[in-house]
Amino acid sequence: MRESSPLLAGLRQRVARLAASGGPESHRADGWLATGHDALDAALGGGLAAGRVHEFFATDPLDAANAAAFAALLVLRGGGTAPLLWLRTSDAGRRAGQLYAPGIADLGSDPDRLLLVEVSDAKALLACANDAARCPGSAAVVVESWGRLPALDLTAGRRLALGARDAGVTLFFLRIDAEPVPSAAETRWSIAAAESREMEAAAPGAPAFDLELLRWRAGPAGMRWRLEWNGDEQIFREAALSGAVLPLSARRAMVPRGAAAA
């Protein structure tokens, strides 16, 4: 015991040093990507923290479009000309179709800022995500992944988070057709399509999202919101519930997760 105590003391010192400087938690966020929805932004202290990794889970592949649209709108509503890097694998095109720029223009955003990077497999996706996360100057990086993605373990996730923090790049990880698992992400969300507000002649209305904050490193989680995108003002706002809609929790219970996954 005696001879090991200098060693232990050294280790304790190192741990203390690391605790003082290291760890993504100890760094304050450089800014926030706000949704424009007051309650959501206030609950998160201003919005989704910039320079962090955020995970959006769409457990049902049919909700892929909502997760993608939420990430794209969140970044592009901020304005500016910095490009939004969008990484996806070639097989994503077969599953969800190609990313359709006129649809993004139709939401009131500027598709010229999109830079699409298509990679062959999940390994290349993570490698490119690491490079993109370390490159300052982009508005954000969206990584669209399908399926379980075993290559993204805790080490890979932490490497990604540290790279993004050091470069100040916000990284949105779309996990489509995957179950939430522990990771190094700052926040973890479940995103699903919500019923839209009815327009004239029973037409479907503006995009609506069911959000659930599954985990937040810096605070409590478990809150739910239902947002609607307003393209004219470029903000998310509370989706008006029509009378016939069941409470959110009841509807959730009715539709078991992943049951509709084809």
Binding site: N66, A68, Q98, V117, A132, C135, G137, S196, A203, F209
Partner: protein
């Protein structure tokens, strides 16, 4: 002779299927290897190469030295070489392919070539021989007008080219690059790190030349010549002109990492050449104090790196296309080419989006149940799941581009924006009106947020 007859006579005859594409590739590799003698190498399909060695032969100890070097390498690859040199490409080609008799000098050798060297059609060649004109010399002694009148203008042109009276331009495999640098080694180098270091020095040399001219390179091509006569080229492209050695070397390293069959020095490289086929104006840059230029440059560098690693078509930008056919309304262009931005159609205020965020191309077939045949869908089945539709809007009728079609036809599509009971929004269409088609199919074309 039929193959069966031939095999009956020579039993150990070996049969190999003819692969024109593989021959073509091999010829191209040989042409690349011949780049060590001169940058101007033209392919003479299917089995010849024409080298312009004007001003280059002295580097190998004259014409004879060059030919000896070439012959040694080609023989080393297990091939036989027929060669000839002459004052113009057509004459050299004819001599290499048709020369039968030795001659004291070039002019005499050309005169002694058979008329078959003109490569006219069989009828014309037979006609010439029947007329007693057996060699190029015989033919050249006649008035050109008579030959043209009797055997056609082609015969006259071919003859004039072989005799050197008409210009016969060479069509090189690769155009002469505006800037290039090369290094030859007395002793072949077999270590990749050493070769990479020399490539770095060449990039530096080229960079100095580019700086002097106020230019930057957009496209760099490194060619590694192996001592066995073959060569291997590696190319990189950048989105903006550059002469930055570190950047170019990073891209070269990136490219070499992902080569499917890695660069193999074999018995060593005896020459490395770096060419810059595409250059653009590049002034001296001044970095902004607040770092704006640096940040833009960081994204550009990332695009270059990803495009080098994944392929130039894998990093893309979106540009609008002027058509109302949904799957053709967006162009995906390589980001490295930096197409100028053009305005997208603006959405109507107060209206939900009419175009989806994900588009299936091609559209996926679905089964639809509608209340009336040409009415809106009531429920649909896609990917083994049934979706009951609660809300819909449509139809948005999109006609085929009949003015581009030969038959002026094409089916009209009726698009419906629908929302199912779970709140998910889809874009469906019926392909064809009932007047146009008896039983039109339904498709899903996109997913809305």
């Amino acid at each position: 002779m039929a193959f069966a007859d031939a095999r009956a006579r020579v039993q150990e005859l070996l049969a190999v299927p003819h692969e024109p594409a593989a021959d073509e590739q091999w010829l191209d590799r040989l042409a690349q290897g011949c780049g060590r003698y001169t940058p101007l190498v033209a392919l003479d399909h299917p089995d010849g190469l024409i080298l312009d060695i004007g001003g280059a032969a002295h580097l190998f100890g004259g014409e004879a030295g060059l030919v000896a070097d070439l012959e040694a390498r080609i023989t080393g690859l297990g091939m036989t070489l027929r060669h000839a040199s002459a004052g113009n490409p057509d004459a050299a080609r004819a001599l290499a392919r048709y020369q039968m008799l030795p001659a004291p000098d070039e002019a005499a050798a050309i005169r002694r070539l058979p008329v078959a060297a003109l490569e006219l059609d069989d009828e014309a060649t037979t006609g010439l021989v029947r007329a007693g004109l057996k060699t190029i010399g015989d033919l050249g002694a006649r008035p050109m007008a008579n030959i043209a009148a009797r055997f056609g203008a082609d015969a006259a042109t071919a003859l004039r080219r072989i005799l050197g009276d008409a210009a016969s331009p060479l069509d090189p495999r690769q155009a002469l690059p505006p800037v290039a640098a090369e290094r030859r080694f007395a002793e072949p180098i077999a270590s990749m790190p050493h070769a990479t270091k020399i490539l770095g020095e060449l990039v530096g040399e080229v960079g100095e030349e580019l700086t002097r001219r106020g230019k930057g390179g957009r496209h760099f091509r490194a060619t590694f010549f192996r001592s066995d006569g073959l060569a291997r080229g590696i190319e990189i492209e950048t989105g903006h002109p550059t002469r930055d050695v570190a950047l170019a070397m990073r891209l070269f390293a990136e490219r070499m990492d992902v080569l499917r069959d890695p660069l193999d020095p074999g018995f060593g490289f005896d020459m490395i050449r770096l060419a810059v086929p595409r250059i653009e104006a590049l002034g001296a840059t001044q970095l902004k104090l607040e770092g704006g230029a640096v940040q833009d440059a960081a994204v550009d560098a990332l695009v270059d790196r990803l495009a080098t690693r994944l392929g130039r078509g894998r990093v893309r930008q979106f540009r609008p296309a002027d058509t109302h056919i949904p799957e053709q309304a967006q162009l995906e262009l390589p980001a490295i080419d930096a197409a100028p931005p053009s305005p997208w159609p603006r959405p109507e205020a107060g209206e939900p989006p009419t175009r989806p965020i994900y588009l299936f191309d091609p559209p996926q077939p679905i089964e639809v149940i509608a209340e009336v045949p040409d009415g809106p869908p009531h429920r649909f089945r896609w990917r083994r799941a049934t979706h009951a539709i609660r809300r819909f809007e449509g139809p948005e009728r999109i006609a085929a581009e009949w003015w581009r079609r030969r038959d002026n036809g094409g089916l009209t599509r009726d698009y419906y924006r629908v929302e199912d009971v779970q709140g998910r929004r889809y874009w469906l269409f019926r392909h064809g009106l009932y007047e146009e088609k008896d039983d039109p199919r339904w498709y899903i074309h996109g997913l809305f947020a």
